[in-house]
Amino acid sequence: MNGLQSIRWCLLVLALGGAWFASGANAAERADLIYKTYCWQCHGMKGNGMGINIRDMSVQPRDHSDAKEMSSRSDEDLFKAIKLGGRAVDKSVLMPPWDGVLSDDEIHELVKYLRELCQCSHGRSH
């Protein structure tokens, strides 16, 4: 491999890496906007379950910043709860199904966003 080829390979790797990073950043921004639009109303601006709707609810929304509670849920459970609603995971009917609005990809991005909010993963808090 001569010098010119090496430079071309480096540029290609940089471009692919940049695109990968940008798509990740875009996905994170998209998840942030989705969370604000659909989830804030109940889960609150800080994700702590203190949304504008909660006063008259018989069951309070999940505190997404609670690492202990959130780490007890698998990513699959979170995905299912968002997509199919609380009843699908034996939780409250007040959590609605979002499958009519959000795509599976968007829900996967939301699950990642929730893991950032709680600073936790299934089975452990960071």
Partner: protein, 230 residues
């Protein structure tokens, strides 16, 4: 009998009055309404467009609203969505929970009676163009308010976002205790069946309600609309 003067009176006297009323409706819509309301469609298809929307879409107003209610409301507008059209832009963190920042909520202009009638006459011409309304689909019936509330809250969870009486219920969606005064029954059925068919990005989820539930909810809203909450 010479009918000439009568014809002239019709041509140059009375008919222009009707024409002027029609023109006024269009003119008012274009001059006063268009900056906040979408008169031509489509509904927002991106979250940014949803956020930018200032007032309800009106391009299918004739399939959605009851004209008598609209004429009265335009003369004495009252807020229907406690947190505005796009609630995330009108809330702030509070000591117990997030709160509505009422300072940023816009106030709807007030029209006089002739203006309101002219605007509504024009708006009622704007019908759903996509066949989402099934005329006569709602079959009048009844349900007790207690049973309706049980369904609305405990069984289907809708109370989370909607008030069923002033000050009681969720704040991000429109109040439902006036829904049956405002909205045509067949529209309510269609919208609840699939909110995203009307408004693809709206933050009202599709609850996949049974057809019988759709009917019962409209019975409930009609019962609520007869309550005196003033």
């Amino acid at each position: 009998m010479n009918v000439g003067p009568i014809v002239l009176l019709l041509l140059f006297g009375i008919l222009p009055l009707f024409a002027a009323a029609g023109d006024d409706g269009v003119a008012i819509l274009n001059n006063q309404c268009k900056s906040c309301h979408n008169l031509d469609g489509p509904a927002p298809t991106t979250l940014q467009a949803l956020r930018d929307r200032k007032g309800p879409d009106l391009f299918y107003a004739g399939s959605k609203y009851k004209s008598d209610w609209m004429i009265a409301w335009l003369q004495d507008p009252k807020r229907i969505r406690p947190a505005g059209m796009y609630y995330p832009d009108h809330i702030q963190p509070g000591p117990e929970r997030d709160q509505i920042d009422t300072g940023g909520l816009p106030v709807h202009p007030r029209l006089d009676a002739p203006q309101a009638r002219a605007v509504v006459a024009e708006l009622m011409q704007r019908k759903d163009q996509q066949g989402r309304i099934r005329n006569g689909e709602y079959k009048p019936g009844s349900i007790s308010i207690r049973m309706g509330e049980l369904m609305f809250d405990k069984f289907r969870g809708c109370l989370a976002c909607h008030e069923i009486e002033p000050g009681y219920g969720g704040k991000s969606g429109p109040e439902v205790y006036t829904a049956a005064r405002r909205l045509q029954e067949d529209f309510m059925i269609s919208y609840m069946r699939d909110p995203q068919a009307w408004d693809p990005k709206i933050f009202m989820p599709n609850r996949h309600l049974k057809e019988s539930d759709l009917q019962k909810f409209v019975h409930y809203f009609r019962a609520l609309s007869k309550e005196n909450f003033e």
